[in-house]
């Protein structure tokens, strides 16, 4: 295990805080998380602490349990063991929509946009809990409805422009090119005002230039919104360049945590990816 800054309050020594986040409450604090499906242990003793403005990565071979971990963090699965604290609050037993309200938003490996709705409406759905306009007000089209809608439109357009999607605001989400859909999902996640967003393979299916653009955008999201980002990705170029800390999982267990350099040199990681060297 890599040892990394220890000058952090409250959290145990397994943390991976960036120095700038030291002393602050972690936005995501996962302790001893595990889940069994029947007799199969998919994730076991998964620990991670993510600081308020950290970009963390989660890598591992196919089937290592990365997406399962994301599903545990967002309340889609209820863990068999351990706990997940989002902004200090345990998400145990909460339905998915309540977990989101605590400040955790996500994108999906297989894109899940509202394909029959426009890009703008997709973002406005993300802003659902922010738009304060009662059922009656929108039914009767009271002035408060128009005010809320105008404000929502403005913010949604700003968010779309931020990711360079302003031109496709009135296009159906399902008709957009793949890379654009991926970015739209990120915008929708941002629209929920999260304090951390989980990106599940954001660069999947993107060409190198799109990936380079995405790397730039991921950093820009962190620097603009001051939020943490936790991403799963197979593109090592992206992971090594963007992430400040990386956790490597295999067979549902963390095998290494540390900075990109530490991970790159770790023998356990090399073994997980390339197999064991034969010494006969």
């Amino acid at each position: 295990m890599a040892d990394y800054p220890k000058n952090v309050i409250q959290v145990p020594t397994y943390n991976l805080f960036r120095e700038q986040d030291a002393g602050k409450l972690p936005v995501l604090d996962v302790r001893n998380l595990g889940i069994d499906f029947g007799g199969l242990t998919a994730v076991d003793s998964f620990n991670i602490t993510i600081g308020p403005t950290e970009i963390a990565g989660l890598i591992g071979p196919n089937g290592a349990g990365k997406t399962t971990i994301f599903n545990l963090l967002t309340g889609v699965y209820q863990p068999t063991r351990g706990s997940v604290l989002v902004n200090g609050i345990d998400i145990k037993g909460m339905p998915v929509h309540k977990v989101n309200k605590l400040g955790i938003a996500r994108t999906f490996q297989n894109i899940r946009l509202f394909s029959e709705m426009t890009a703008l409406d997709n973002v406005k759905v993300g802003m659902h809990n922010e738009i304060k306009c009662s059922f009656i007000a929108s039914l009767l089209r009271l002035p408060s409805y128009y005010r809320a809608e105008a404000a929502a439109n403005m913010k949604a357009m700003e968010l779309l422009d931020f990711m360079g999607l302003g031109d496709v605001a009135d296009k159906k989400a399902g008709s957009l090119p793949y890379g654009v859909q991926r970015r739209l999902e990120i915008v929708r996640a941002l629209a929920t005002n999260p304090s951390i967003i989980l990106l599940d393979e954001p660069a999947a299916g993107m060409n190198p230039s799109e990936t380079a653009e995405l790397m730039h955008q991921i950093r820009r999201i962190r620097d603009t919104f001051h939020i943490a980002i936790f991403l799963i990705e197979h593109d090592m170029n992206l992971v090594m360049n963007v992430c400040e800390t990386i956790a490597v999982v295999n067979y549902g267990k963390i095998i290494c945590k540390g900075t990109p350099e530490q991970v790159r040199q770790n023998p356990a990681v090399i073994e997980a990816y390339l197999g064991k060297e034969d010494n006969d």
């Binding site: 309540k98 509202f114 659902h128 039914l139 605001a169």
Partner: protein, 356 residues
């Protein structure tokens, strides 16, 4: 561009209201001028009722994406509630119009409450399972109403669900007489009220669709998991759509019930539910204007073909198949797109001219 987006929906909605109002005005004056045959006069209120039913079911099936086969059940609840309320208020409320209005609101409210209660267990299900359970609900409602007795005697109002006839005391008068249904109903329904009902239904559904709630409902339809992940309480929004749809169906049912001097529970059976669903499917899922048009045409069509006797249902089926085939054909779609494009260009030109 934002303005354009907003104008688009406003324009589309205005078109629906305009069409409905135009239809009403034409029929109203033709009716007053005595240009309508007696059978056509009889179609007016049911057309309004079926438009409301189709639009409210479209909210559930097309916009929320939940297949419900029990819409006639809510219609039946509304109808018999409306009949009872109208009968009880006789002599207490002078104005027929007001009495009808109260009956419709009452029918809507009771239907909505039942929709909520049924929604609690039913909305745990999805897709085919939901369809089956709502089908069962419709049949249960039909059978309960079929065994419902309600009446007044000197001691006041009595109501019971029994298989044996409920006895009434001195001065007894049945409002709902079990399997014989409601007889001697005062026909309160009027065409203008039907028009108001259609307007109200459109107002509720269109405003709902183009609001925060409507977006959430559509999001749940498009991708439930994603909707949850952005903080939408999926169950709550399915419930909202279900209850709103039930209330509107109840109100339409009350108007329907008060349009005939006698009516039995068997009218609100599975066939009626399917008919309403056919209106929705033909008009296009989620297409409100489509529902309005298809409900009108498909209601009038079999009625107008009554002179063909037994052949009319065969013809009706053939028409349904042809419509389905044609609207799905890519070639026809292309042509429709060209025509609508031309129309919208004409509109835009006019707009530019008036603006300039």
């Amino acid at each position: 561009m934002k303005k354009l987006l907003k104008n688009k929906t406003v324009l589309a909605n205005a078109r629906i209201y305009l069409l409905v109002t135009l239809g009403f005005v034409v029929m109203f004056f033709m009716n007053n001028a005595g240009m309508l045959s007696s059978s056509w006069k009889g179609y007016l209120v049911p057309i309004c009722v079926y438009i409301s039913l189709a639009v409210s079911l479209n909210l559930l099936v097309g916009i929320c994406g939940e297949l419900s086969l029990g819409h006639a059940g809510f219609m039946g609840i509304g109808a018999f509630t409306g009949i009872v309320i109208a009968a009880l208020l006789k002599g207490k409320v002078e104005s027929d119009f007001l009495r009808l209005l109260i009956a419709m609101v009452g029918g809507g409210i009771l239907s909505g409450i039942l929709g909520f209660l049924i929604g609690i267990p039913v909305l745990r299900l999805r897709g085919d399972y939901l369809a089956i359970v709502t089908l069962a609900f419709g049949e249960i409602m039909k059978n309960i109403i079929g065994n419902l007795y309600a009446g007044t005697d000197n001691n006041g109002f009595h109501m019971a669900v029994t298989t044996t006839k409920m006895a009434l005391g001195d001065g007894g008068k049945y409002i709902i007489n079990g399997p014989m249904g409601a007889t001697g109903v005062q026909k309160l329904a009027t065409f203008p009220m039907g028009f108001l009902l259609v307007l109200f239904t459109l107002f509720v559904v269109l405003n709902l669709v183009n609001s925060k709630e409507g977006r959430a409902i559509k999001a749940v339809r498009d991708n439930r998991i994603a909707a949850e992940s952005v903080g939408i309480n999926v169950t709550a929004f399915r419930m909202k759509a279900f209850v709103v749809s039930a209330v509107l169906a109840g109100m339409a049912g009350a108007l329907f019930g008060l349009n005939y001097s006698s009516i039995t529970a068997s009218k609100f059976n599975f066939n009626t539910s399917i008919n309403i669903l056919v209106f929705v499917v033909m008009g296009g899922m989620g297409n409100i204007l489509g529902s309005v048009i298809s409900a009108t045409v498909l209601y009038v069509l079999p009625e107008a073909m009554r002179s063909l006797e037994d052949y009319r249902l065969i013809l009706y089926a053939v028409v349904l198949i042809l419509v389905m085939l044609f609207t799905w054909s890519p070639k026809v779609k292309e042509k429709v797109a060209i025509v609508s494009d031309k129309f919208s260009r004409m509109f835009k030109k006019k707009e530019v001219e008036t603006n300039g």
